[in-house]
Amino acid sequence: MAAADSLPNVNEQSLVAEAQAGSRVAFEELVHRYDRDVLRLALNLMKRPEDARDVYQEAFLKVFKNLHRFRFECSFYTWLYRIVTNVCLDHLRRRQARPEDQSPEPNPGHHEEGITDFFERQREHRPTLDPERQLFGKEIQARIASAMERLSPRERVVFEMKHYQGLKLRAIGDALGTTEETVKNSLFRATRKLRSQLGGLR
């Protein structure tokens, strides 16, 4: 977490204290420090921009309403991620409960401007890749997406937070309100499942 690591805690603490005292400016400063990571996590987990927006909004509103409960017992970032991951888990569980709502790929007809398929964008950003590689990459992306869907919400969140967000298992445990050992088990199961699904990729 580049943002969290690069900020001196003292600044963060004073910002949080000001926000707790009612400063809207301080709160928005806190939001702007971390919301890129929050949105990225939400996008990676939810796979749909509209769902990611919902998560972003719901998570930061929860932070705003519950900021007075924050007692500086952990870092603000850890506390924020606990809220964000729980909101993501809620959304993923609700989505699982609705079979018709499980398609992870956004409808091409409903792409929002600037948020088109990021795999496609990735290809554009890598002009050196040959067409054969591009085709292969698309197949990989589809299989990865399918494999990720088979993970439980918690396995998925743990995997994403570990491999994409780069969080330590302890921090993930803090965020999810569980032990490092539980997170470890989730990561192990997630990796094993993905390996069995994607074993023939390489």
Partner: protein
């Protein structure tokens, strides 16, 4: 591969996932690396793990570019700022909106609302206007109840009517016998119908018999309505009572005049004699004289229709009627001593009118 070596491979394999993502302790890391140096199989598995990891990261890292223009992030920030504005803003004073729930319901269901409005319009048009018209016609402050003639009035209801004023207006066609009464009681009433209706007649006779509870004009109108119904015993009783007891002489006179068609009735005649002797108003006494003369002359078509007239004796026998003697006696007394000159004169004329019968 030795058994201890197999055990080591198994332990290391379980840790390779975490080793690949640098989540092993320093002690574990040292043990794994030592084992990997001497175990080609586990080294191969680690390579496979890293390869898979790299594949996943290659795909997933693409999402880092998800919002290169920052459009989604910008939109999220704006939406959050708006939500925070809403949260921070003081609650708006909620204006009182009558039937707000109905308005919101109608806004959400335009088709149903249209249907409901049409039904309400139909209802108002077919029911509301007649109701409003009846209410305005009553001319009263309170709600008007149009009582059909078949309604039955209790004595208590009649007594309550007594405390209110009453107006009476016969219909333009007086021969139809239809009347309309506007009764102001606790709950205003409009009674309309024929005088022959038992209930309506009961109200009319009640008004006539309870002269102290309504205005004289009302009682006069009631007498006018009842005059054609003197064949009814109740009506006759009410008229006789009014003729004797009403405080207003005009009403007493009107009551007598209403009885003209049944003057041969003994009770009527006694009432007239009583009026001659005791009524304080000379006009009433004159009216009584006129009616008595009429009764003694007899032979009126109307009188012949009454039961009493059928049994009426011939003129000679009529002289034997004890009441006849009393009438003559009373008239003679009036002729001599009535304080009113016109009464004395009218009595003398009456005696002359019936004199021949007396001579015979």
């Amino acid at each position: 591969m030795s058994a201890p070596q197999q055990t080591q491979c198994k332990e290391v394999a379980a840790l390779l996932v975490f080793y690949a993502c640098e989540e092993t302790s320093a002690q574990e890391k040292a043990r794994i690396e030592k084992h990997l140096a001497g175990c080609a199989a586990c080294a191969s598995q680690l390579a496979e793990e890293r390869s898979l990891h790299e594949s996943l990261m290659e795909a997933l890292q693409a999402s880092e570019q998800f919002d290169s223009g920052g459009i989604l992030l910008s939109r999220c920030r704006s939406e959050l700022a708006e939500a925070l504005d809403d949260l921070s803003a003081p609650p708006l004073k909620k204006h009182w909106q009558p039937l707000g729930w109905l308005r919101s319901w109608m806004a959400m269901r335009p088709v149903w609302s249209a249907a409901v409005l049409v039904l309400i319009g139909l209802g108002l048009g077919t029911q509301g206007l007649p109701w409003l018209s009846a209410r305005l016609d009553s001319g009263s402050n309170g709600q008007t109840v149009n009582v059909s003639p078949s309604a039955r009035f209790t004595d208590e209801q009649l007594a309550k009517m007594a405390v209110a004023s009453m107006s009476f207006s016969p219909t333009s066609d007086s021969t139809s016998g239809n009347v309309q009464l506007h009764i102001k009681t606790e709950q205003p009433l409009v009674l309309s119908g024929s005088v022959d209706d038992p209930d309506l007649r009961r109200v009319l006779t009640y008004v006539v018999e309870n002269g102290n509870q309504t205005e004289a004009g009302v009682r006069l109108d009631c007498l006018e309505a009842l005059r054609a119904r003197t064949g009814d015993a109740d009506v006759r009783r009410a008229l006789l009572y009014a003729a004797r007891n009403d405080q207003n002489p005009a009403v007493r006179m009107k009551a007598m005049e209403s009885l003209r068609d049944v003057v041969v009735d003994q009770t009527v005649r006694e009432t007239l004699i009583d009026a001659l002797e005791h009524d304080s108003n000379p006009g009433v006494r004159v009216e009584a004289v006129n009616l008595l003369v009429r009764s003694l002359e007899g032979g009126t078509p109307e009188a012949a229709q009454t039961p009493e007239a059928v049994l009426a004796p011939e003129p000679v026998e009529r002289l034997l009627d004890p009441s006849m003697e009393r009438v003559i006696q009373t008239l003679q007394d009036l002729e001599r001593s009535d304080p009113n000159r016109y009464v004395r004169l009218r009595s003398a004329a009456a005696l002359r009118q019936i004199g021949p019968h007396e001579v015979q």
